[in-house]
Symmetry: C2
Subunit: 451 residues, 2 copies
């Protein structure tokens, strides 16, 4: 069985519904279809989910709510679906908007989930109208259970047992993504990952042979197309590589959403609803190594470095741990901690920091840890080379550092650990783009020219 | 004022006493002289301190004790010192060996310190016999106070006030290194650093213009002479560089011993008693950068790596800190923690590990931290390039990694942090020597050829 998920642009209008129908019916293994709420039809368009949030918060609610209903109305009309569907949607939307049951989060969740629910209801109706054996599968009915608190809702692990029964479906099940229900019957949306995570959960539950994630891109690029002109496509990538590339928000699929399929090592395909014959990008647990050690590269800005130094630091049992504790007590995650004998640096995303937090951290490091030097430096970029083949590739670090040095830029930090699939460079933000270009040339263009 | 310290080989016999006298009297600023116990006169010789430890533990004690007295007797005879000195030494040694006062550590300390004390007494007597204004300065009399417990004794910080008075001495004070007294009058030896630390403390106490550390080498080498044939000498080095070079036991002066002078930023000179006109190696707080970015390189074997991986690790606040806590709870210091997004490695000196400890750590990491992968790998070498000029040297990492890759060796780990004076490579032990040679060629030979 294949579980396939279609994102917002794939469900944006009747024309897209037709494409999705064509994709779903091409392969009889596609029996679980997870859908998002209708997304943008053109670049300045509004997503249905954003309209729903507007409707929830705004007074009068008519404007946004009317636009939502218009979107569904045009799908109903273009596809000749029963008009009762639109009446049902309208009354349901207003019931949710005017409800005073539950706390604010619960009511917002119910409104937000409306988009996915009716996207699925309309698409199931469309498939049926075309003589295809299909039905809307309510998350509550199939047993997609969520944790009770109205914040940071997550799947209840117990759900898997019940969801596994979907394995036996003979008809196509159209499941709305993004939400489920608590055991007491309250609707809850996933905090992150939206419909991606619903698809991933269902794929894991039924031990799908494949989880297809249909979006509006043909593949995952090997580098940021805003910096590199027409970068290469990645056809095959491992979970670990995909995850490392997400360092800089690189990925087209939310990495937390991948967790359920990752655990079961179910392959994932990123495909384009608008160009389904393109091979797409396949994410797998393991792959054969090619002669190209680097699969992709990514870069992000907005990093700071906390530099700490103390004579004989490395003789002190627990120094590094205490330093990380101080940072943790400020609620701050860190990225890397390169260290010498008497100094240690902590790389932190700058958005975690405020002048007050920095001052508190510096003071504590000086006073409690007896450091001689402690200060923050800002404006760093992290550039990450990713590839399963890197760890066996002699001379890779030389090739990368040579490419960087030829740009005239200085390397502020290098972080490479044993058995890893990544090599991280810290550089000044101003040097980021030229280094990305230099590294891309070193690891991709050169191969191209040879071929 | 200059504080000068003479090591064991400098005090090994009458001939060496003469050399030390010549050095001390050459410069009237040398008014505090710290001495070690007589050391080896030839490579198979025994150090007096080792003989004293033998005498303490062995029965009968006569053999070793007699050899100790013989050593002092020959100095007395060769230098025509009063014979009463030897009588005094003999009776004092036996008093200490036969004492039953205090615990084992205290009694051992008293016996061990005998070598330094009588080295100083004999040398002071020798200077006086030559008409030089000099006297033996007992650590108790000058106020070199130690902590009370008989283990891990350290200087009492309060000592500095009293020791500062030595500033005003007009005669040469000969101070035995290696020990002091508690406030209740018990003799305590320094846990580490021996006479080096006494000299460093006194230099700091009197705000010496210079701390001279006389040994039996002309200078500190830029690399290990057992691997590199006649490596270059280092004439000027900063404290930080010296400290980083000590990563692999490289240094000729114990790095903890440098702490007191480091704090006061007093320059240190490493010189050779047997060749005092050689310029030696000067350790300073700051130096002008030359066109050579790398000051020295050092390498050590016997490292292990703990590799830990978990999907979405870097989203977990506190993961790294908890990992270090587990390692700390086994009493283990770590060296570096290179990390990717979903994996972190901890570099540990292998001597800290036992199969049981490794198993406990791996189990806890898997169970308590929910890691997917955790294992140890052994047999790593760390190779460290050290230089104040490195952080401003574009292309340095490229030069180093290129040199390594040309040996065909793989780099297991790279660790470079911002503002540091070192660049650390983890490699397999079997590759250590060829990489040291390649790096030495890249950073030293090339410069030589150009010149």
């Amino acid at each position: 069985m294949i579980v396939c998920k279609f994102g917002g642009t794939s469900m944006a209008n009747a024309r897209q519904f037709e494409k999705v129908k064509a994709i779903v019916t091409t392969n009889p293994a596609r029996r679980i279809v997870v859908v998002s709420a209708p997304g943008k039809r053109f670049s300045n368009d509004q997503k249905v989910t954003d309209l729903l949030i507007d409707a929830f918060y705004e007074f009068p609610k008519e404007n946004a709510a009317t636009v939502v209903i218009e979107r569904f109305l045009s799908i109903q009309q273009d596809l000749d679906l029963p008009v009762e569907l639109v009446d049902f949607a309208t009354s349901e939307l207003w019931t949710r908007l005017e409800s005073s049951e539950g706390d604010l989060n619960s009511r917002l969740d119910a409104v937000k989930a409306f988009g996915e629910e009716f996207s699925a209801r309309f698409f199931a109706a469309y498939l049926s109208s075309q003589g295809i054996s299909a039905r809307f599968a309510d998350p509550q009915d199939i047993g997609l259970l969520m944790t009770e608190p109205s914040e940071r809702a997550q799947l209840l692990e117990d759900s898997y047992k019940e969801l596994r029964k979907l394995k036996d479906t003979t008809e196509i099940l159209v499941v709305p993504g993004f939400y489920g229900y608590t055991q007491s019957g309250k609707l809850r949306t996933f905090e992150r990952g939206g419909s991606d995570i619903t698809g991933s959960i269902l794929a894991a539950a039924v031990d799908a042979e494949l989880y297809e994630n249909f979006t509006d891109v043909d593949f995952v690029y090997a580098a940021n197309p805003n910096i590199i002109d027409r970068p290469e496509q990645i056809e095959l990538i491992t979970y670990r590589e995909m995850r490392e590339l997400s360092y800089a928000g690189f990925t087209v699929i939310h990495d937390e959403a991948l967790m359920p399929v990752y655990r079961k090592q179910i392959p994932v395909e990123i495909k384009n609803t608008n160009n389904p014959s393109a091979p797409g990008t396949k994410i797998v647990a393991h792959r054969l190594l090619t002669d190209r050690p680097v699969t992709g590269l990514t870069a992000d800005e907005g990093f700071s470095i906390l530099y700490v130094s103390k004579y004989l630091m490395n003789r002190e049992l627990g120094f590094g741990r205490k330093l990380l504790q101080i940072i943790e007590e400020e609620g701050i995650s860190y990225e890397h901690t390169p260290s010498g004998l008497d100094d240690i640096s902590v790389i932190i995303r700058s958005h975690y920091l405020t002048p007050k937090k920095e001052q508190r951290i510096v003071n504590r490091v000086l006073q409690e840890l007896g450091a001689e030097v402690a200060y923050f430096k800002h404006g760093l970029s992290m550039i990450v080379l990713v590839g399963e083949g890197m760890r066996n590739s002699t001379g890779l670090a030389a090739r990368a550092t040579l490419a960087i040095s030829q740009t005239g830029a200085n390397i502020e930090m290098i972080n490479q650990g044993s058995s890893e699939v990544s090599l991280v460079f810290g550089v000044l933000e101003k040097d980021k783009e030229k280094i990305v270009r230099a590294l891309y040339d070193a690891f991709f263009q050169r191969v191209k020219l040879r071929a």
